[in-house]
């Protein structure tokens, strides 16, 4: 399995990378949505993206709408990992095509549980 971690914070990418690496995911990273799209267009297409919402250049919501607009990426699972906790925004992200939503701060178990719910790691 391959995970792409999309967050403008290097520290947060490091935390998430350790969690998914422990689950035997291969990882790639991007510091905003546009950089992630560039990687995917260059052929680095992950099984799951862990996406922050508030990022410079391209935010996570826009990234999700861009991914969902491309039929070639329909199998990519999208999980928001963000401080954005307003119900309205959660509904908006899920409606745009996010499969799961994790609010920061989180425990490693919260990420593992969500990946398990998505069938990406054994329950």
């Amino acid at each position: 399995m391959r995970a792409m971690i999309i967050d403008d914070s290097r520290a947060m990418r490091s935390i998430l990378r350790r969690i998914v690496t422990d689950l035997d995911f291969e990882t790639s990273e991007a510091e905003h949505g546009q950089a992630a799209l560039d990687q995917m267009r260059a052929g680095v297409v992950p099984d799951v993206c862990l996406v922050d919402w508030n990022m410079p250049v391209m935010d996570g919501y826009t990234f999700i709408t861009e991914v969902r607009a491309n039929p070639e990426w329909r199998d990519v699972t999208l999980m928001m990992v963000t401080t954005e906790s307003e119900q309205r925004q959660i509904v908006r992200a899920l409606a745009a095509g996010a499969h799961e939503y994790v609010i920061k701060p989180f425990t490693p178990d919260a990420i593992v549980d969500k990946l398990s719910l998505l069938g990406l790691v054994p329950a």
């Binding site: 914070s9 947060m12 990022m55 963000t82 401080t83 906790s85 309205r88 920061k104 425990t107």
Partner: protein
């Protein structure tokens, strides 16, 4: 010195503490707990500090600021980046980690207040935080973690003539 507003216009201190403790536990939980710290009212943060701020705008307006002791800021960074003990965090790494800290606290403060609102990207500085003269202190926590001081503040726009 900033005015202090009624609590109705700001997050409750208990809620701000709960948010801060949740973030702290997630990032540094295994190493100890945050404790209250007695500080004279109105006194500036008394440490060489890193400070970070994020602005909430929309249904509610305010600025959430976190100020950290230098040693603590570097320990936080080392922990978040899982750096080896012999490796010192760079200033840009510290800025990144402290920015993510205020992002998490600010995002959760936003969820406590009337919305919808937007959270800005964090602004981080090496040094004490500066506050706009047209803002008022709404809520403040002075805390200590393993002898290192931490201050979390919420400022809101000040009403009345400017």
């Amino acid at each position: 010195m900033s005015a202090v507003l009624p609590e109705a216009e700001a997050p409750e201190s208990a809620d701000l503490l709960a948010v801060t403790e949740d973030v702290w536990m997630a990032l540094l939980g295994d190493d100890g707990v945050l404790l209250p710290r007695a500080v004279p009212p109105g006194s500036p943060f008394d440490a060489t500090a890193w400070s970070a701020a994020t602005t909430i705008s929309g249904g509610w307006h305010g600025v959430v600021t976190v100020e950290l002791d230098e040693v603590l800021a570097r320990r936080l960074t080392t922990r978040m980046l899982a750096l080896p003990a012999e490796e010192e965090a760079s200033d840009s790494d510290v800025a990144d980690a402290v920015g993510e800290l205020v992002n998490m606290v600010g995002g959760n403060v936003k969820s406590l207040m009337p919305g919808p609102s937007v959270l800005s990207l964090p602004a981080v500085a090496a040094g004490r935080a500066a506050f706009s003269s047209d803002s008022a202190l709404a809520c403040r926590l002075d805390l200590v973690w393993q002898d290192a001081p931490v201050r979390v503040s919420v400022h809101v726009p000040q009403e009345g003539p400017r």
